[in-house]
């Protein structure tokens, strides 16, 4: 065992999905630093003056991609449950046009319009969930139909018009935390937010140590905990100062705030609640889940409905940022969201994946996109590169799995490791009668 692997295990926990996440975070950091270097190089300035980590760029990055990351949250749950949702872009577009119209034509106040939008998402989601869960039509088909249906509905309602939305509404997509309090040279609310995040990191680490102790399990060594906290707090402080120190009037975006809140809520839901665990159970082995008392239909209905609600939210955020709902909203969003989830380590067959992994996966794509644009690479080549990255990320994962290894790091350090040979799973498929499928009395 290399020291490095020990460290990885201590820092990120020993389980396979954590190891995979470690690989993704490592990749993300590497890509960020790479583009920081390349952009600096391009301008002929020092590393510190590269464009990628500049305040305005980080803010823009977050603001530009929050809607895709919100979709990725819902998509993760759909994919973990063993389904797929191709309709998210169309659902987003349809909600966007209805919400924009509701404000323009019926002068609905914008807070009500947001609720209206979420309600549309819920209704659409209930429709799709019904077909998937209760009729048993594969989600691929239901949402392929939905993709056409809601796109058509968008064009029918919107007449392909571009409908502007009022200022208050625009804030959910284009707004920032306001400037309050004394002039510190930074946005004060963002600083507070950063401080809260740092405290949360420390609290969580201590809580985790306490939990390990209560389990009578060996907690990670103290120095590891401190090191881990120090790294995370340092990163948080750096990011906070970047967000707080942008041009006056800009700070942490509201859409980013919505995203963070959703990540926390859904992260908790998928990790720590019975409902969340049922989703993994259904995706891992639906028959076994059913025989363990999981209400299959309810779970499937929920994930599909939830996806459409989040798609509606994403659609509204995009419309808000674009200041108008247009006929091209939502085009090929589903692909970005699905790519984020798979790059983030979810399994195509379901049952595996995490919210945080998908967010990291989405950020990898976002940073790639942004970095290439900063380098002036055209959108044609950007697409080629993104396609290859998606393929390679998943291929590497498949390869690692077939080798009995799970982490990207593992494969990087392989030539230097002298591990025990990966042992075959001794699940004794012994010489009894061929395993009968489901029932053979």
């Amino acid at each position: 065992m290399s020291r490095f692997k020990d460290l990885q295990k201590n820092l990120f926990g020993g389980t396979t999905s954590n190891a995979r996440q470690f690989g993704m975070i490592f990749t993300l950091v590497a890509i960020v630093l790479l583009f920081q270097f390349l952009t600096a190089n391009n301008l002929g300035v020092g590393f510190g003056d590269g464009l990628t980590l500049r305040s305005d760029n980080l803010i823009a990055l977050f603001q530009q991609n929050s809607y895709i990351l919100i979709l990725a949250i819902g998509m993760l749950m759909v994919i973990v449950a063993g389904h797929i949702d191709l309709s998210v872009g169309s659902v987003a577009a349809f909600t966007g046009i209805l919400v924009a119209k509701s404000m323009a034509d019926w002068s609905l106040p914008w807070p009500l319009a947001i609720l209206f939008g979420l309600a549309i998402g819920a209704v659409i989601g209930a429709w799709q969930g019904f077909w998937v869960a209760y009729v048993g039509v594969p989600a691929f088909i239901v949402t392929l139909a939905g993709m056409l249906l809601w796109r058509g509905a968008n064009q029918y309602v919107g007449n392909a018009d571009t409908i502007p939305v009022p200022k208050g509404f625009q804030d959910i997509g284009a707004g920032f935390l306001p400037e309050v309090g004394p002039d510190t040279g930074y946005n004060n609310l963002t600083l507070l937010l950063g401080l809260a995040a740092c405290l949360a990191v420390v609290w969580r680490e201590l809580q985790a140590r306490k939990t390990r102790k209560e389990m009578n399990a060996e907690p990670a060594p103290l120095w590891v905990s401190i090191f881990r906290m120090a790294v995370m707090v340092a990163v948080l402080i750096f990011v906070t100062l970047r967000f707080a120190g942008g041009r006056v009037g800009t700070s942490f975006p509201i859409s980013g705030l919505i995203l963070v809140a959703l990540v926390l809520i859904y992260g908790f839901y998928t990790r720590n609640t019975a409902g969340g665990r049922h989703i993994y159970a259904v995706g891992g082995n639906s028959r076994a889940a059913e025989l363990s008392g999981v209400k299959l239909k309810r779970v499937n209905f929920f994930v599909m409905m939830n996806m459409s609600i989040l798609a509606s939210l994403a659609g509204m955020i995009f419309v808000a940022r674009s200041a108008a709902s247009g006929p091209q909203d939502g085009l090929s969003w589903e692909l970005d969201a699905i790519a984020a989830v798979f790059i983030g380590g979810a399994a195509v067959s379901g049952g595996i994946g995490t919210i945080s992994g998908s967010i990291v996966g989405g950020l990898v794509m976002a940073v790639l996109n942004n970095g290439l644009q900063l380098l002036g690479v055209g959108s044609d080549r950007v697409q080629i590169i993104k396609g290859l990255v998606l393929l390679l990320a998943v291929a590497l994962d498949v390869y690692n799995k077939s080798q009995g290894r799970f982490s990207i790091i593992g494969s990087l350090t392989r030539p230097f490791r002298r591990d025990e040979p990966s042992k075959p799973a001794p699940t004794s498929d012994t010489g009894n009668e061929p395993a009968k499928t489901t029932v053979a009395g």
């Binding site: 041009r247 091209q328 959108s379």
Partner: protein, 367 residues
Amino acid sequence: MRNFFGKTVAVGAIAMLALTACGSGRDGDTDSGSGDSAKGFAANSLIGVALPAKTSENWVLAGDLFTNGLKEAGFTSDVQYAGASTTVADQQAQITAMVTKGAKVIVIGATDAAQLSTQVTAAHAAGAKVIAYDRLITGTPDVDYYVAFDNFKVGQLQGQALLDGMKAKKPTGPYNIELFAGSPDDNNATVFFNGAMDVLKPEIDKGNVVVTSGQKDFKQIAIQGWKAEGAQARMDQLLTSTYGSKELDGVLSPNDTLARAIIQSVKSRNKAVPVVTGQDSEVESVKSIVAGEQYMTINKDTRTLVAQTLTMVKALQAGNAPEVNDTKSYNNGSKVVDTYLLPPVAVTKANAAEAYANDPKLAALTK
């Protein structure tokens, strides 16, 4: 544990305060504003050009002209096209990236003119000048200039040419025509249409010209995304529903791509090709005009438009106010944008050789 927690918090707080204290200069909102245009900027500054997806030859040509023109003038250029399927989101990200890179002027050929206001505002706030190229960006006061061909004039020329062409074929009316318009998300599409109707409406009212299908409303005749297949499908459908026995004398088409699609549709039914208008002087359409199929096109020489834009960029660089010739007509919903309008030229078979004399590629076709 409690003690440990407390210490960690204290250390964190101190670290943050320390960093806060030494971090200083937060850029103000002030290094832009219209007042300081007199200062100009460095001659090798970055100029960003954001164009829509490469769906027509003109955008590709414009991109090449911008790249070369900016380079010749000594600027650093960043010319970007939106992706084919993710147009609006791409363009938003590209403009933001240009702002980050510190572009002094950003020229935008908008994909959806109403969905870029947030980015334009951010660009303006960061001190970049924004020139709307060909399509007027709406909903923001932060568009500095607009440069385009006189699109109302384009429409008028199209309408007039349609009448002239039909008259030349058949001296007396009434003439059966159909109307097509461009993409409803393109501000110009409406302007073209209104220009054309400015000429056609009196004739329609007189009964001299008949829109046989009755579809005269902009929403009925607009082709989403300027897509050829959209126009072809609509024409197919019109021929089936309306022109089983009737003769079609003319079609108002807003541009060449749609014109060719319309002609294609008519030809596939073995009907006589009517008088079809166009715009943009695309290679295929010029060939078609020379061959006697499409009746007319508009020459809005992309070279002239790009050259005029570059002139404006250079004026801004020198710290001068760029020349404009219309400060009244173009209201984008937030303000009246200073505009430089270029005159379009109608081209038929008769004047093609003369009109394209400056364009090596097209000139060859007219010989």
